[in-house]
Amino acid sequence: MPKMSGAQALLESLERQNVDTIFGILGGAILPVYDALYDNKKIRHILARHEQCAAHEAEGYARASGRVGVCMATSGPGATNLVTGIANAYMDSSPIIALTGQIPTCGVNSSYMIGRDAFQEADILGITTAITKYNYQPQTVLEIPQMVTNAFHIATTGRPGPVLIDLPKNVQTNIAEVEFTDKHNIRSYRLPQPPDLTKISQAAELLATAERPMLLVGGGVILADASNEIVKMSDLLMAPVATTFMGKGAFPESHPLSLGCIGMHGNPAANRIIGEADVLLAIGTRLSDRATTNLDTFAEGAKKIQIDIDAAEINKNVEVDLAIISDAKVSMEMLLTAISEKLKKGKGKAWTTRVKEVKEQLSPMLKEAPRGMTPKALLSELRKLLPASGIITTEVGQNQMWSALYMQSLQPRTFISSGGLGTMGFGFPAAIGAKVARPDSIVVDIAGDGSFIMSEQELACSVTEDIPVIVMVLNNSVLGMVAQWQRTLYSRRYKAINLGKSPDFVKLAEAYGAQGIRVASIDEFKKAIKTAMTSKVTTVIDVPIGSETDVVPFVPPGCGLPEQRGDY
């Protein structure tokens, strides 16, 4: 058995999990791992400029590729800076591994020890208990290989999520004869059994005999790689498909039966049709408040079937008639077979006609784009210029909701946004992570000015590490989304929403060595995108838009999905 330090054992274990990239920032308590990285040829370290962004970068990497993203930070402030990033990954079920340095468990100086409030000590296990799927702290070098194997197993299986490994400094430096293992051994962690056949058959019966079936697809479908099965199911049942915000991309939005996203700022066609469906199949969605808006009226007329890998999601928000606890892909395959056996030919015509009619009437994409630099016109142009494999990330706020409404997603893993936590500043680092995972794809962060400022320092990371992405700042000089709420729900009592004209995003980009372009018309915007797409360096496109542009329509708090308001 090879003799090595804990730090070396960690890196070797990560390599065995095919880790090729770590996003991080170093500090005293994690120095031994960085010292081991000095000799490591296989793992690329990308120096983030803030640990929160390192975690978002790892998440962008994970969501663009389906692999695990890894981030690393030192103890104390490094670890606590990761917290928002970890919470974001937890809410959106993204598989990331966070590595943190920690004060030693014992040592020469007994005041520099866990529990003594030593310099840069923070109880990161305690702090992250509520926002990790699991967290670990090895006490000996020998534990490390098994711990890493188990951590990856937990992060990637079942409902994925973040796992943190906190590494006391003495455990990083101690030397031991280490044995590696690729076998996980967590007896208390069980994954769902194959789906219950009677339930599959009941679901098949309901769907096959439905007159107005509809599919509602969440992020779980992307995680389970079940997009093809959704397309097949839609074709088989002639059923329209809406996604949740997190499910965007799981079903091609160019498909005639696509309704776009449901929800508070959803596509009006989706919000209307869901109220008319008689059987609703919800797959891989927790049916969150933003998706359902009002539980009492949500899909009122429909029998509801829910497929989820997480048993705790069944009946948590919406009471369903039939639940299948399973991986989405496995159960969708079984359902497809079961339904084809039961289905009578020649049905579905009236329903698809109705869907088409509602889409034509309500879908914002089918309405003529207003002239000028409106979000819709800009995003429609972006769609035309960007290949189907191009990856969109977004910030949070109006920019995000406009992206959901107007930027059609055609493939899974091409729309990456902070759905559950709604973290401003997520989009740009996520774009960097996505670009690292998929260097051949063009990556665009659709940003608001307020959000971009929260992570703007990562321009330094993208420039020095040669990770060219595009940031398109929909610059309204306000914190637009909250301004919209103050405008519509607080009678224009604007407070603390003005961002002014600071910074000058072109100069800001240039100061970091990136490219900055300001555009004054749609034509200039198209030119800028084309320039940015071939640029070897990150490009920030400053796109001034009106500061009182609303995201419309929207469902006011407490109302049901079809009660959308606002002209659009």
Partner: protein
């Protein structure tokens, strides 16, 4: 959760550091109402049993069971069905006794309730009582008429009735 009822769930967990923290954290984070929680050894050294008393309606209880089951270190969760389990709690009650009349009254009640006196001082008696919460509450209410100086209750621990046992394989 006003319409809720007291329910007992029995949870087998890995006996290692951090588990109690993660379960307690889960209850706080999900806004579940714990009435009591007891943790202790089982016949298997590496497994601990938590007995959790919660106040919840059916829907919340369903969530409690599922969310607890989802915790990585949890091996098994069981809701103990009413009538089909045995439960006990211990209370230590220090009662103020300033005169001999009170003293003999307390001693009489102790006999009736089949509890025990485990400490005596000139001005107090400490009583140990074991039983279900109803019995303990009844006794406690009587003692309050004399003056309770201090009280310590363990919370409920419980097991399902019958020969059935849960054994976790390695």
């Amino acid at each position: 959760m006003e319409s809720g009822k007291t329910k007992i769930i029995s949870v087998l967990v890995e006996n290692k550091p951090g588990v109690l923290h993660s379960i307690a954290n889960l209850f706080r984070r999900r806004n579940f109402n714990i009435e009591s929680i007891t943790v202790g050894a089982t016949q298997q050294q590496d497994i601990a049993r938590m007995t959790i008393t919660v106040n919840a309606d059916e829907k919340t209880l369903d969530q409690v069971v599922k969310q607890v089951a989802k915790q990585i270190d949890v091996l098994k969760v069981e809701e103990l069905e009413s009538g089909n389990f045995v439960m006990r709690e211990i209370a230590l009650i220090k009662v103020e006794v300033t005169d001999s009349k009170t003293r003999s009254d307390v001693i009489n009640f102790v006999k009736v309730f089949r509890s025990r006196i485990i400490d005596i001082s000139p001005d107090s008696l400490t009583v140990e009582i074991t039983g279900g919460p109803d019995k303990i509450n009844a006794f406690l209410n009587l003692m309050k008429t004399f003056g309770v100086l201090e009280l310590a209750r363990t919370g409920i621990t419980a097991l399902a009735r019958g020969a059935k046992s849960i054994k976790i394989d390695d």
